[in-house]
């Protein structure tokens, strides 16, 4: 297998946009190609994440749609859909294509547009990532899934609403340092704890927002990447799945797919959790960050809530998590999120993250979770 590097990244500002998801992706892709200093004509394939385009934009076939709007209509392209992990799945496919020697330069990324529909509509569309026969008819929502998970974690480990609130406060503090973030204002623990319940025990400020946005990453073979100013190497990239139905998950306080994907990615990279300097992980809800820090091996099972409360995951802490502001503050355009996380880690490992830079970061990790925890991807990156 050949080595693969990231040589270019681009993201739009996340938040409300009056543009189609394809246009948002195209902006991010143009920025990523400029960053990579490769012409669009050098791109050999496009792998693209988009989730609810069929619902919010009446647009399927979003791979060639995105390629056409970008202006590279003839490259082979495929849309990936693994709920909120879609562009991480697209990224992994691009990595494998280059590692296998099929292509030398691949563009990956994704985009989403949801703020053009009502909250009731987008809540319904996101719920489509749960089972349509057994769970959706009950009125299960995406916050509801993580509320059930949160309750199980609280019962088993004594995790508190204040510990979950600490995650929100930390990620908003980070987001205030990110000019591309949807929310760039710090918040207080009191604000989180006093916000309205969406799905008990999760409150409004435990939830990431609905967002529009796009993100893109240029991947290259070692031969191409060596000519680039600062290639960031992909050390490992793994995917794992788990049961779709919540009733089938034996222990709701854990996300086995995170544990499996992390184990595989660490094995590929030949490193462990203590070798990682900076992490971008899937904090769609505050509890999701707590459980992910445990599943990735950063903290013992059950210790994630206390670690968040102690500030171990903040900038300047033991292991900075979500310096970008995470999904919580940076925003979560679901088709773009996986690629946006890669963009942040690459920026961090290049030492170009400005006020949110994790000093001396050499190795980074991205973790993206799909919907009801049935999909997880984990990738590892290094400066050398």
């Amino acid at each position: 297998m050949r080595r693969v590097a990231v040589i270019g990244v681009g993201v739009t500002k996340f938040g409300l946009h009056d543009r189609t998801s394809a246009e948002l992706f195209a902006e991010a892709a143009r920025e990523a190609l400029a960053d990579a200093d490769v012409p669009a004509s050098a791109v050999q394939a496009l792998y693209y994440g988009n989730v609810v385009g069929g619902e919010t934009e009446h647009q399927l076939h979003t791979g060639p749609q995105a390629a056409s709007v970008l202006g590279i209509p003839s490259v082979p392209t495929t849309r990936f859909e693994t709920a909120c992990a879609s562009s991480h799945a697209a990224f992994r496919h691009g990595v494998m294509e280059i590692a296998a020697g099929v292509s030398d330069i691949v563009l990956v990324g994704g985009a989403e547009r949801v703020l053009n529909v009502s909250t009731a509509e987008s809540t319904e569309y996101f719920a489509y990532a749960s089972d349509a026969v057994w769970e959706q008819p009950l009125g299960l929502t995406f916050p509801g899934v993580f509320a059930l998970i949160a309750r199980a974690h609280m019962e088993k480990h004594g995790t508190t609403e204040a510990q979950m609130a600490a995650v929100a406060v930390k990620n908003h503090r980070h987001g205030a340092l990110n000019p591309k973030a949807q929310f760039q204002k710090p918040i207080t623990i009191e604000q989180v704890l006093k916000s309205a319940y969406v799905a008990d025990p999760l409150k409004l400020y435990d939830c990431c927002p609905f967002s529009d946005g796009g993100a893109a990453v240029v991947l290259a073979s070692e031969e191409v990447a060596r000519k680039h100013r600062k290639p960031i190497w992909v050390l490992g990239s793994a995917a794992a799945s788990d049961w779709m139905l919540l009733g089938d998950k034996r222990d709701l306080s854990r996300v086995p797919a995170t544990e499996r994907a992390a184990a595989a990615a660490y094995r590929q990279a030949g490193i462990g959790p203590s070798d990682v300097d900076v992490v971008e992980l899937h904090d769609c809800f505050t509890i999701a960050e707590i459980i992910a820090t445990e599943g990735l091996g950063l903290f013992e099972p059950g210790a994630g809530g206390r670690a968040a409360e102690k500030g171990l995951t903040g900038l300047g802490g033991e292991i900075p998590v979500n310096p970008s502001g995470g999904l919580k503050a940076k925003g979560h355009p679901i088709g773009a999120t996986g690629a946006a996380q890669v963009a942040e880690i690459v920026t961090q490992l290049r030492g170009e993250a400005g006020p949110r830079q994790v000093e001396g970061a050499r190795r980074g990790l991205t973790h993206t979770l799909g919907g009801n925890t049935a999909t997880v991807l984990v990738s590892l990156f290094g400066r050398d």
Partner: protein, 127 residues
């Protein structure tokens, strides 16, 4: 071609009549619900339907306050993962129980929730 042991449609027809049905693997004894093709434990295709008692306890629960469009009129409503006595778990709506009294470990009993169009979903009420 063999007939499926239990389809989702058959499950909900039986549920409408008040009966929760699982399947047991004839090869390794694994109990599974809802129906699936292969035993997730031994990958055999050798299921037998098993009628469950419908008694269980709340393993986790939430109260939904922001709902999808189709359920907007129902808020607030409770959804729980219920661990059934026989060892399998299933998601259901909690009905006829005060929301503030809900707790992990609380005993509940299956009851079908039948919509006007006879669509049936899994519910649980007081034990």
């Amino acid at each position: 071609m063999t007939e499926p042991t239990l389809t989702a449609r058959a499950f909900f027809e039986k549920a409408r009549a008040g009966q929760l049905t699982a399947i047991r693997c004839g090869s390794c004894g694994e109990l599974s619900m809802p129906p699936r093709e292969l035993c997730p434990n031994c990958h055999a295709h050798s299921w037998q339907p098993v009628v469950l008692g419908g008694e269980g306890t709340i393993a986790s629960f939430t109260v939904i306050r922001v709902a999808p469009r189709a359920h907007a009129a129902d808020v607030p409503y409770a959804i729980a993962v219920v661990r059934l006595k026989e060892g399998v778990s299933i998601l259901g709506r909690i009905v006829d129980m005060p929301l503030e009294k809900l707790a992990v470990g609380l005993p509940v009993r299956f009851r079908p929730l039948i919509a006007k169009d006879l669509t049936t979903s899994v519910g649980f009420g007081p034990a």
